[in-house]
Amino acid sequence: MQSDSKHILYMGLGIGCISILYFLSLIAGLPIFVIAPVIITALVFLYRWLNKEYQPPVQNSIWRMAILAIGLVLIADKADGLVEKHGQWDAWAIWNLHARYLADPAYWQNMFQNTEHAHPDYPLALPATIAFFSRLAGGFHLLIPYTLHVVVMLCVPVLIFTETYRKGLLVASLALLLFVTNDMYITQGVSQMADTMLAFFFLAAFVCFDYARENRQMIILSSAFLGLCMWTKNEGIMLVLVFVLFNARIFMLEWKRLLYGIGLPFIALLIFKMGYAPANDLVTRQSADTLDNITDWERYQQIYRSWIDTINEHYKTLKYLVVLYLFYCLLRRKLPDKRFLMILACLAGYFMIYIFSHQDLEWHLFTSAHRLLHQLMPVIVYVFANKFANMGNKGAFQVVRM
């Protein structure tokens, strides 16, 4: 892996490292003048570990730089028009609320008393990171979450671009264009909710895993990002299960590396869930009605219709890409890419969450369907960009044939 991609991945690992160490030090009751040096030291070690291998010098290309810079400026310019001051409803009602509690060493456990609508069982990658920077800045300020979200939002297309441009600048540019033209991605990116961060970590796990064949150490990185998915949102646990199941053979052979990577976020999550967080409402409210939900075909239709509407409204280009790709696979009588099947399995998992949901289904779909698809959008773009770019390497004719 080249140095540019590694630095983008380092930012993701940095967020994970900050949030986990900050949460653990909050439990220990450490003051900020102790927490900050500990976290900075950990970040330095992490940086040196990530960059310990020799990396061949890379050449700058004015075209690559110009395309990336223009793309990012366009995304930021759109974000300026789409952002709300305090973020969307869940941003202040959940994520920034949790950050404000975690930034207060005296009253942070008050967070767990807010059982109505505040979801104190949600994992802490995002709020703990904001809380750490708030402590450094002397208090919570809206600029802190906004800056963090903009950086994460930009890291996603940058990582796909840096991973693709060496194989094909045209494909990398088209992938970047997908982000520039997708208002939903940008709106969610600056909504100050945790979905984009989850999308970034899941994408990073995919990217690292693609290098596992040539460098086994990448399994540690991929596992770390999977752990951070769980540490970011509850649905991250489902994404991780799907990822691990699809790659069970490799993870069983490399179980030590899996544990090295996933260990710290998993332990932090266990401490949080077992020691502090109330039970998740989706789990606790399951009852005999759940069986009725499973056999209620109207429910399936309602979810399907809502998803199709959301896809047609926000992800039309991706929809056509997926349909064309499936059609291509059918014509060539071959199975789709395993990564693509993995994403479909994640979608199926999300679909079942709605089936099991005890909440009003229409409201649940309205408030979250677009966000769940947003979480998977970057990996879909990455998988397609990666496939097209690899085919482009074999010659333009093959790209046209696909």
Partner: protein, 118 residues
């Protein structure tokens, strides 16, 4: 692409975006800011670490915004002796109990009451 160049582009764009956000909203007062201004004195009435009930005739958005504004020192919970009442301006209902503090703005009337005489 050389890493310093990449990071310069990334952080320059993020920095300009943050500056633009600050420039756009620093002087804008939205509903949340109005509520925050109205509830600012509550922190003087209810001691840090205290818990109050949310009552009155305001919707879930106002109760959630109040929780956000009063965090982390004050927690909104149910069935507490001290209560925060918020009524729309056109609602002339008065809260029960002893009124410790009250305030009004162009949208709501706000009261902190306690069931016990203190």
């Amino acid at each position: 692409m050389k890493t310093p160049v990449l990071l310069t582009i990334l952080f320059f764009v993020a920095g300009v975006s943050t500056w633009s956000y600050h420039h756009k909203f620093s002087k804008v007062q939205d509903d949340m800011d109005k509520l925050a201004a109205a509830l600012h004195p509550v922190k003087d009435v209810v001691p840090a670490g205290g818990t109050v009930s949310f009552a009155g005739n305001a919707d879930i958005t106002i109760s959630s915004q109040s929780r956000y504004i009063l965090s982390p020192g004050i927690v909104l919970s149910e069935n507490k002796d001290t209560a925060l009442y918020i009524y729309p301006l056109q609602d002339s209902t008065m809260p029960a109990g002893n009124i410790l503090w009250q305030h009004g703005d162009d949208r709501y009337n706000y009261y902190i009451t306690t069931a016990n005489a203190e």
